[in-house]
Structure formats: C-alpha cells, structure tokens
Symmetry: C2
Subunit: 273 residues, 2 copies
C-alpha cells in the first residue's frame, strides 16, 4: 500500500498521534503508542503471529520510509502507513521527534492472572510486581524478563500500565513479547500462584536466603516491590524471601537492577539459560 501523505497536523487520520507527550492513550481500549524501529519490529512480530497486540496505523518521518521497507512489509496491507515532513511531524507530536517512527497499537486481548499462569509449563518462571508505578522500572523489568527468558510478568492493579509510551520504550519492546496480566490485588496474585503450585520468592533486603542459594524448583515466581518501601511485611511473612548481598549502610539497589540480578540467578538455577 502506498504511504498516505499528511500535510496538516490536524488531519483526523493521525489524530491519535497528537500531543503524545502530554497524554497517554492507555486505558482507551488498550491503545498505545509504539516508538522507534526496534519496538515497531516487535509490534510487527506480535501482529503477524496472532499475538496479544495488533498495529492499527503507522506514522513516519518521510525520509525513514526506504530504510524501514523490510519491517513495513511485515504488517498486513490494511495497516495504513502515513508519512509527514519533520515540521509537520513535530507539530503533530508536540515536540521534536528525533527518530520519526511511531505506530498506534492495540491490545487485542486481556488475560487474567489465572488464565496466564495456568497455561504455563511445569518448568516456569514468572515475575510479579507489586505497586511499581515508575515507568522506567516497569520497562526495565520487562526488558530483564525477556533477557532471562521469563514466561510471564504479573502486575497488580497498583502498577503502572506497561503500555505507557515511556515504559514500552524502556522495555525495548519486551512489553509486546513477554506475556503479562495486570489485574487484581497482591492477595489475588499470591492466591493464584499458590493455586498453580508456584514456589513464591519475595525479594527483600532482609530476605532469609541469599539469591544465589535459592533452590530451583519447577514453577517459580519472583515477587518484587517498590524501591523505597519494598514488599510489605504482611506479604513477606507469607512467602519465602531472598536477599541480594550489598555493602552495608546503603540504600537498596534500583528495583529493576535487583530484579535483573534475581532473574539471572533463578534462571541459571533452573537451567533455563
């Protein structure tokens, strides 16, 4: 399909891309903005294989089209591609879009925690995030989950939507490739994990077992909380806990880095890598 040329920033055909810094589309029927070549490629891949996400439209800086031909060819022909000059694109977005690659995606299906983990194999690894509202941290946790081959990410209702523009970008598209559910309370998620016979390990500076020494088991879940507070005491008292040794007297590690270290250790213990 020929690209559609956009000369007017108010053109309704690209209305979803307007002022994307100020507002997020998430919550509007699962729509989201994918930015950059790598995330565009991930979106094409999930769309193509009938995954959880589809592309609805694409908007590119005009001079990016030739270099992206191969990726664009992977999208079905009914996904319209729009092109604009740099000046028009910046007016649409509301700021200078350095890379000039945007797509509007839509989450095709929501899955519940129970549906998601019920379908996992007997040897599985999931990450559950409780109350992580920082977009960078959520994005990084997905990136780490993908890097270490985790099967799923579970988010409680207090976590931010991983489809937020920044979270998706920081994840380098992993939000589109690692299956996730975002629903319910921490209690709901813990109950679902127990029901599905997961060995549940919470990450905490006061954890009982050093992360390297956590024994492998078939289905394992790693729980991670917010950076400042960590996991609440009433949760830590109900699950097994692991710590990451650190120099004394310091603030704890960044939540995403801590999760990365823990996922590496558990994935190695499970022989997944």
């Amino acid at each position: 399909m020929e690209p559609i040329r956009i000369d007017d920033a108010d053109d309704p055909r690209i209305g979803e891309f307007r002022s994307i810094r100020e507002r997020d589309l998430t919550g509007r029927e699962g729509r989201f903005i994918a930015e950059g070549t790598v995330v565009l490629r991930m979106l094409a891949a999930t769309h193509l294989r009938g995954g959880d996400f589809v592309a609805e439209k694409i908007l590119l800086l005009e001079n990016r089209v030739p270099g992206l031909a191969e990726i664009l060819a992977e999208f079905p022909a009914d996904v319209p591609v729009h092109v604009a000059s740099s000046a028009v694109l910046d007016r649409i977005a509301g700021f200078h879009l350095h890379r000039g690659v945007l797509a509007l995606g839509r989450r095709r299906q929501e899955r519940t925690t129970a549906e998601l983990i019920g379908g996992l194999p007997e040897q599985a690894l999931v990450v559950a995030c409780f109350g992580i509202s920082n977009h960078d941290n959520i994005g990084s946790i997905f990136r780490n989950a993908a890097a270490f081959g985790a099967d799923a990410v579970l988010l409680d209702g207090a976590c931010c939507d991983p489809l937020y523009r920044k979270a998706l970008r920081v994840s380098v598209g992993a939000v589109l490739s690692v299956p996730y559910a975002r629903s319910g309370t921490t209690a709901d998620i813990l109950a679902a994990l127990t029901e599905q016979r997961f060995a549940v390990w919470g990450l905490s500076p006061s954890g009982a077992v050093e992360i390297r020494d956590v024994p492998a088991s078939g289905r394992m879940a790693l729980i991670t909380g917010t950076e400042g507070e960590g996991l609440p005491r009433d949760i830590l008292s109900r699950i097994r806990t692991a710590r990451i040794a650190q120099a004394p007297g310091l603030d704890s590690l960044n939540a995403a880095t801590a999760t990365g270290i823990a996922l590496y250790e558990i994935a190695m213990a499970q022989g997944r890598l």
Copy 2:
C-alpha cells in the same frame, strides 16, 4: 547561620542555580548541582570528611528548612543557605522544582587513574567504563558500584561527566561517595590497570567465561562498554572476557543492569559482601 531570603530570581547570589535544566555547570571548575535530600546528605558527608567534594551554597524551598535542619547542621557555617518561595524557586530553576532541595558543589581535586588505583589495597575491585555517554547509565553504574562495594570507577574521556545533574541524581549520590577518575583513553586505562597488576575482565555478550565462573583474584577490574556496540574487538582481544547468559535472539541487557549483575558476581566471588 540564618538562611538568606531570596525574593528576586535574578539575585546574583544564586546565579548558579538559574536555568539548570538547560545548561550544566560541569566543566566550569568542577562545579555541579546536587538535587534532593539524599544527595544533599552525601554532599555533607564528603565535605565533612575532607573528601573530593565541597558544598559552596545551598538553595531550598522555604518550607523544607525545618525538615532538613539535621542535614544542614552538618555543613560548615560558611556554606550559605538560601531560601525562596515556590514561585521564586521555579523562576530561578526554569521549571517546577518539586522537591525544592538544591546545592552547588565543587570537585576539590581531580585524580588521575594511576593515582586512584595505585592507592587501592591488594584486594580491590574497580569498574571501568569505556564510551558510556548516557547519563542514566553512568548514574546507575555508580549506584551499583556503591551497592556492591567497588573501590573505584574509572571513566575514559568518552564517558559523560558523572557530575551532570541527571547522572548524579540517578546515582542516588554515589558519584560523591565512590572515588573515580575520568581521564585518558581506553588504552591508558588498560595500561594503568596492567601496571597495577589488576586482573582485567571485559563484559561482552560473546565473552569466554560465564560471569558466575570468573575466578576471584586480588585486584580485579570489570570493563564495560556502550550498550549498542559493546566493547570494541581490539580491546576484547587483549583482555579476558566474561558473558552473562541470556535467552537467545535478544538485544543485550541494559549496560547498567549488566554491570550490576557482573559486580554482584565478582564481589561475591571475592568475598566482599
């Protein structure tokens, strides 16, 4: 000393705090902006113990003064404390300063790589960064270096200044507590490490040894490169290399997360934690 009230955003006494989002003071005789309570506390600590950094002046939102009394008391009496209303403070900074805690610091001394590592004990761990220009990554690497008790960070001339406002903030002040040098080329740094009998390990997706299996030795250096390119081949061919196992077919880990995992493993192997 009584706080000095500032009512005019153009008051020359607080000129260094003007428009801090747009410009960085670094490069101007080692001056830098420290933001937030945690970084202010680190600055007080380094100033007090005669460390590498001193505070020159402080600028606070007026209603923050009572809550910060304890930290402010740690600074010498000749460090002036200025206070301003929220409106004046925002006009000075050029954007809304949510937390309202700023200090102007100065690096008192520069150390060369050779001076820095020459003084380290026989059991030591340093991180060397080659060409890392991303402020977030430099800040996170310092945070990880502090968390795992590294003795020093070495930066080549192609790395960004860790005193940049954002790098310092992301480091949670670790830039002020972990000794570092930023000078010379990668070749200079490698030569200095070899001269000082460091076992040098480069982190690379194609590394020869899994990071968990790197043998401990007395003085160890971990080299980390940029995220996209990694360490150049001519460097990798001259040093021992370690990898972090990952799921196949993926982009590599974020540079800061990879460094965090590697530092944890090496620090554990050395028995430092």
